[in-house]
Symmetry: C2
Subunit: 202 residues, 2 copies
DNA sequence: CGCAATATCAACCATTTGGTTAAACCAATT
DNA sequence: AATTGGTTTAACCAAATGGTTGATATTGCG
């Protein structure tokens, strides 16, 4: 039994599929390419995941949903808004560094089929409530200015996700290498929370 | 001659193609669907635009490139950073309101083929230089804190573009209607510059 | 071992899809 | 009216693609 097989075919398929799907999107991904990347036969793909749609869902559940759940969870147990923002941004960026293609992939598939992926979004609902409460508390204590908390959340997520979505544009327009881009991202774990907090502090 | 024909077949094809391409992406778009949407035969598509790639380029040049050029141009002639930021954000959001699917489409195609679309990005280079200069000037006058201007530009673009890219996620997680989303966007023409300027003002 | 269940594969099939062809249409010109 | 040029169409084609089948390994177990 080869070392490759030991890893478990199903898991290997999911990893390959995630790479291909995030690279090419649902429409652009080819079953043959997934099979090749997993080092197996195309028929075996349909043996484990009946069709493309189910394979896609498998990838989405195992990858995207878990990653984003992780990000939302970083808010849990926080008692102060600023601390929560720092944790959220750090978690967001760390997850994106692990899988830089993810945000664009998710944005795409959410646009393609907004209804079908409700469950994915719902996982963040709980943490969203907590975030709103932290904002309200901070506002009451006079620590921050009056700001629409929903807009604040949009801004935070925008600054975390967008560099990964617009990466080719950013690297090219600023004439920086991939390595410099990586350094910029790492720096943003600190600068983004600073940027946000400076903007809302009373 | 019917009123429809009067508009010019080529132009009508481009409009239809832009709708289909931005809705489905390059890989997901079907030539037949473009033909249907333009109310013409599929063969006629190939008569005007030899193949899918050329049709895509036609759409990109006529749509995306023009739109983004417009945004960059809003910086021209500005003398003060804050004023420039206000103009840039307003132009960015206005263009996106006109064509909400555009940022996701561009992000996708730029990722798919970073090399092939250099010309598109290059159009912004001139304005980018101006932006850097405005930041340096403001810094010298002590009006703003010390901040990496490239990161600032990333943040600005992130806050402008991301709501359109993550729209399904935002509307669902905040439980708002399309109309409420539209209002939020309009409001952001003011709140985003405020947010940014508050954050960088010395 | 022998046998049943699971896993894997090569070859195949039906449909979709980008692209072509040859003929018809139509408006202007001779 | 006949010619000519650009425009439009229906029918067609080859390649790509998602999915199936039936046979062949491989594994676990009595």
């Amino acid at each position: 039994m080869s070392a490759v097989k030991e890893e478990g075919t199903e898991h290997r398929i999911l990893e390959a599929a995630q790479r291909v799907f995030t690279r090419k999107g649902m429409a652009g991904a080819r079953m043959q390419e997934v099979a090749d990347e997993a080092g197996i036969n195309k028929a075996l793909l349909h043996y484990y995941f009946r069709d493309k749609q189910r394979l896609f869902e498998g990838v989405f559940k195992g990858g995207a949903e878990k990653q984003f759940g992780c990000i939302w969870d970083s808010l849990k147990g926080r008692e102060h808004l600023f601390e929560a923002i720092e944790a959220f941004v750090a978690a967001y960026i760390d997850r994106m560094v692990e899988n830089p293609q993810l945000p664009l992939f998710i944005a795409n598939e959410l646009n393609r089929d907004p209804e079908g992926l409700r469950a994915f979004i719902d996982r963040g609902m709980e943490s969203r409530q907590l975030f709103l409460k932290l904002v309200a508390d901070a506002r009451e204590r006079g620590e921050i200015i009056d700001i629409d908390p929903r807009e604040l959340l949009v801004n935070i997520m925008a600054m975390c996700a967008h560099p990964f979505i617009a990466r080719p544009m950013i690297t090219h327009i600023h004439g920086i290498t991939d390595e410099a881009f990586r350094r910029m991202i790492i720096k943003r774990r600190k600068t983004v929370p600073e940027f946000i907090i400076r903007s809302i502090r009373a």
